[in-house]
Symmetry: C2
Subunit: 205 residues, 2 copies
Amino acid sequence: MSSCPVITISRQYGSGGRFVARKLAERLSLPFYDNEIITLAAKESGYAESMFENAEQVSSYSLLYSLSMFGSANGVYGLPLADKVFLVQSDIIKKCADTGPCVIVGRCADYILKDRPDVLNFFLYSDMPSRVKRVVKYYENTSRDVESDIRKRDKKRAAYYNYYTSSRWGELENYDLSLHTDKIGIDACVDTLELYCKAYMAQKQ
Amino acid sequence: MSSCPVITISRQYGSGGRFVARKLAERLSLPFYDNEIITLAAKESGYAESMFENAEQVSSYSLLYSLSMFGSANGVYGLPLADKVFLVQSDIIKKCADTGPCVIVGRCADYILKDRPDVLNFFLYSDMPSRVKRVVKYYENTSRDVESDIRKRDKKRAAYYNYYTSSRWGELENYDLSLHTDKIGIDACVDTLELYCKAYMAQKQ
């Protein structure tokens, strides 16, 4: 059987997607990159780790402006902060993928790795009531309006993706498989993604 | 284990989706409705079968106009032809689902059955080069520009769906699982959908 692909997982906030991703990585014995990327990126670039923590937020200036800044500056240092962070993280994501099969969550990894032939991209989502329950239970959100918090998080993820890529976050054709997590539960989602990965490897032989 | 759900499958033209749907129905020993719906609808309504053949085309007048016509007429008989066909087919699709678990392809079945609690909705798509190959091989398309034919077919499916529903064709959140068929092949797609269906039944117990 051919070797495992690099797997990227995008997910709605509170969909259980990050949890599925971690379990899938365990199941396939692959390295898992999520906050780990932030730490790696921070170490690699010499920037403070805190700078990366809110990376999935983006202001409204255009990427063209950023690129023009890029042309006139020395490496990433002339860029606005958010763009510096994106470029440093992109570099780290590419290095992770170069190192071997792994599972990478979020941060436009599907787009950043789009030119590699050995990548599978998954998207996970679910209904609002179950997302509210998960966010309250696992992220200990005590806000009065959890649903509004969730929508804001998704908007930020979408804005980040739409700003840095030429595509749209959650657009079906960006992904090889998209799953609604509620109807079958977390473990069965992991089973489904594992089956897809193994079928992909069998076909590549 | 609880009983099998009603399964609807939407698909891009040439993605192999109809073929996957038929194999899934065989695998789960379920009735399969595709052109069969047309025949059933034709028999049931007394309309000529040929009237239903091009049902997935829609003209540009608004649904509001159709509904106002509906109010002033006797049953579906005062409606424009395309809307009559849609209403008769919707009725047939609901009756199929009422009869028991089955696989239904296309014709807005996901939307028509949205109020049932026992439905799984799948969407299948693939890359243009493999769609061109399939259309040439299986539909014996000898046109000079097969790709253009495929895009036109998809546009018609999207227009039909967008006209008759309050949603958008191919919008990820309309479906429980969406699959890119190329990367794993037809049989593995059937395996994946079967796994999802069985996990759904296990969770419903």
